[in-house]
């Protein structure tokens, strides 16, 4: 006597659907779990290593670099004579174009109250050349820094700027902490 393993068509289709559905649910869950646990990485500049060489502006694959100046306001001195805003040989501390260090006038100087001025980065105009960052670092508190903006960056497998960065300031960092911002140490260290 042999076991009767005959399955009728209706049962076969039902069973196939159940198996298919189970596999789809398990697959989706597995994929989601994988996405959640696997860390993704993005390129970012370490402002403590950056030497403002200018290559972020010239070597990004995008027509206008994904690197932009970012202002860490808690470090800023809100100075009248801002080393990041004015050319060293500025004839007066005014917003006249010839006095500005930024080649695209991407920094807005705004009077707050005597003797404080606020400096705001106009990101659409910033080309990531880092001139202001160099001025701020050399003469001020270093509150202006360069960062790769991830809404613009295409996250190349090999970042063209990282390849030519002379100070190895660009590396991959976890996507859940995508920016390296200076700040919050102004009064715990002599900075």
């Amino acid at each position: 006597m042999s076991d009767n393993k005959y399955i009728d068509r209706r049962n076969f289709i039902e069973r196939s659907f159940r198996i298919g559905l189970g596999a789809a649910v398990a697959g989706t869950a597995g994929y989601t779990l994988l996405k959640l646990t696997r860390r993704s990485y993005v390129w970012q500049i370490d402002p403590f290593k950056c030497t403002q060489c200018g290559r972020c502006q010239t070597d990004c694959v995008l027509p206008v670099s994904a690197v932009k100046c970012v202002h860490a306001y808690d470090l800023c001195g809100y100075c009248d004579l801002c080393g990041g805003y004015f050319k060293p040989d500025a004839n007066e501390l005014s917003t006249a174009a010839e006095n500005q260090l930024c080649p695209t006038q991407a920094i807005k100087r705004q009077f707050v109250e005597e003797p404080y001025y606020e400096y705001i980065i106009v990101e659409e105009l910033c080309i990531g050349c880092g001139k202001c960052v160099k001025g701020c670092t050399s003469f001020g508190n270093g509150s202006l820094i360069l960062q790769i903006r991830h809404d613009i960056c295409v996250n190349c497998n090999e970042c063209a700027i990282a390849r030519v960065c002379p100070s190895d300031a660009i590396s991959r960092i976890p996507v859940d902490e995508p920016y390296i911002i200076k700040g919050d140490f102004s009064f715990t260290n002599k900075s």
Binding site: R55, Q57, C79, L81, G83, P115, K134, S138, F139, G142
Partner: protein, 322 residues
């Protein structure tokens, strides 16, 4: 045959020319030689100082085995300086006389016949010269960052960078008031202190001078906080002070001239009694890029002492012969 030879020679020359061009192109585009184009901000020019402006030469360095130097002070031509939690007492020729250990990092110090006063982040302690505790003050609020300490007319003055004010204590450690500064022309915006640099000193005429770093101004105050006089030097060039917080440190030469020390592009300069730029003690090339301003003091023979936070050294600069 001759014709083929000619063609071969032309091809060989062309091949050599192509190889030379390719080689030159590779050489030009090598990573090391690439620059950021026309958008580089060259601040190197501002680091160069004309040799005619240099008035001192470095004659000695004392390497410090520490993680963070504190402050330097000269009393009776003896050098007192702190590094981490230790106080070093050395003769003017650099020979160590004494080393005393305390409990935590000391930010600054002052010395007189009666005591050694040590400044911590938010309080002050006084010890006898034999290291017996005389008093310690109450801890100020958590925002306090004490950066400088001077003695004048039987009172102790402490600069609090965190709260942008000067605290006054009696010599027994009891509080005796405080004052906030004024602008260069008496404006009421007080001291503009945007980083933990806030220095003061007393000159040979017993005048209390405080640096209002945010407006690049040296200010002379009475013990009650009344502004008596001031001078200001703003500018990125060698004659001026640039940035948000300069001069970060200063001290007086025996004849009342000012020794100033700047952070960022670190440079140490001398200004005369009226605040006119006179000379450069140490150019930026002597220090680390974007470094901390060294604390300064002077010996009786005009030798200038710099406590270098980056290189962790006490550096001696003697005046060049004219």
């Amino acid at each position: 045959m001759m014709k083929n030879k000619g063609i071969l020679i032309i091809i060989a020359i062309l091949a050599m020319a192509i190889v030379a061009l390719v080689f030159q192109d590779i050489r030009k585009s090598s990573i090391e030689k690439r620059s950021g184009g026309d958008f580089i901000y060259d601040v190197e020019a501002y680091k160069k100082v004309s040799p005619t402006l240099i008035s001192h030469k470095e004659t000695r360095q004392l390497l410090l085995d520490c993680s963070k130097p504190g402050g330097v002070f000269v009393y009776n031509n003896t050098i007192y300086f702190t590094a981490d939690d230790e106080l070093y007492i050395i003769a003017a020729d650099g020979k160590q006389k004494k080393k005393l250990a305390f409990h935590s990092h000391i930010n600054d110090l002052a010395v007189n016949d009666d005591a050694i006063y040590l400044l911590y982040d938010n309080h002050l302690e006084a010890y006898s010269h034999d290291k017996e505790l005389i008093f310690n003050t109450e801890k100020e609020n958590e925002k306090s960052v004490f950066t400088s300490l001077v003695l004048k007319d039987g009172a102790i003055f402490v600069a609090d960078a965190g709260n942008k004010r000067i605290l006054r204590y009696h010599t027994d450690g009891n509080p005796a008031g405080e004052f906030e500064g004024t602008g260069a022309k008496g404006e009421n915006y007080g001291f503009i202190i945007s980083s933990a640099y806030f220095d003061m000193d007393v000159n040979g005429d017993n005048e209390l001078w405080i640096v209002n770093t945010g407006i690049h101004t040296m200010q002379h105050y009475s013990g009650n906080g009344d502004l008596k006089s001031s001078w200001k030097q703003t500018g990125i060039n060698i004659e001026g002070f640039a940035g948000c917080c300069n001069p970060a440190h200063f001290a007086f030469l025996p004849d009342g001239r000012y020794i100033t020390s700047e952070k960022g592009m670190v440079r140490v300069k001398i200004y005369d009694q009226k605040g006119n730029f006179e000379s450069v003690v140490a150019a930026p090339e002597k220090f680390m890029d974007n470094g901390h301003a060294p604390d300064v003091a002077a010996l009786d023979n005009n030798t200038i002492l710099l406590l270098d936070y980056d290189k962790k050294m006490l550096r001696f600069f003697e005046q060049l012969e004219k």
